[in-house]
Subunit: 153 residues, 2 copies
DNA sequence: TCAATATGTTAGAGATGTCTAACAAGTTTC
DNA sequence: GAAACTTGTTAGACATCTCTAACATATTGA
């Protein structure tokens, strides 16, 4: 049975709550396409939250050393922030691939679901899942695993 | 990218937050082995929270019509509570099986992980995952899928 | 240039879920 | 049956994360 003591922050891969991971993920994506800077409004738009919420989150992430945020200026990732953001997006990507390629979910559902699940998967599980994916993709390519495709019966 | 509007309560399979799902799951387990009644202290012990926290949760679940809780008495599930509890435990079980049988996680890790993930998986995904499990278990039995066992390389 | 607009921040409130301390109600035991 | 113990509840505090309203700063464009 589930215990709350297992089920809390200490189990997360880093010191970020799910909510803060969402911010880190979003900032990483925006920074990559927007010339190394993310803006408060962009983050708010993409995450569907208010600008004050973004502001509060940025203060939090800044305190933890993940981002650099000048007053009324842009948001950059520190080195540790970049590592964290990449790790979080990798989790998302592997889950998404699993949901689409293996469980045959449609893109939109898979995207939604990956967003939810990415906060609760450990690095060990992720590694296993990734290995599993590679093995199956391989088998698909060799036509050895077509019987596996019947999940959406 | 993840949006908070997707990522919130409305997406959960019922009107229960992850925390309340933990309580429902626990109550279901205790009720089954303890003569249709669960006690505040038992719930607190199993979930690793304080008795006042349990009390608050029970008021919440009672308001939502999932449990019956007499003052200073035991906790029972209503019909809808039973349905919800079974559904939640089914999610847990399928995830656990996947983590152990397919990803070869040890029991303890799988248990922990299932506790975390069970709150963020949709019924569609769960159905697919279950189908997937059945297909693979079948193939294992027929010795057709041994190449799939190499996930923990 | 300066008024209008867009963007960022602060303040304050509310929801959720946790805790400890204190008290109330049952239960056990002698 | 009353004292001691266990169990359940209430009250009040705190952490997290969200919001709206109001204000501050930047940017735009006539």
């Amino acid at each position: 049975m589930c215990s709350k003591n297992i089920n809390n922050k200490k189990t997360y891969p880093n010191d970020l709550t799910p909510s803060m991971e969402d911010y880190m993920e979003c900032i990483g994506v925006l920074v990559e396409k927007a010339d190394k800077q993310a803006r408060v409004t962009d983050i708010a738009t993409h995450l569907g939250v208010s600008r004050p919420s973004v502001c509060a989150a940025l203060n939090n992430l800044s305190d933890k050393g993940y981002i650099l945020h000048e007053h009324y200026g842009g948001v950059k990732l520190t080195k540790s922030g970049e590592i964290a953001s990449i790790q979080i997006r990798k989790r998302h990507e592997i889950l998404y691939t699993f949901l689409v390629d293996i469980l045959h979910l449609d893109n939109k559902t898979a995207e939604k679901e990956a967003c939810l699940m990415e906060h609760s998967i450990s690095s060990l599980t992720l590694r296993r899942l990734n290995n599993f994916l590679e093995i199956i993709e391989d088998a698909y390519d060799n036509g050895k695993a077509d019987w596996l495709r019947a999940v959406d019966r």
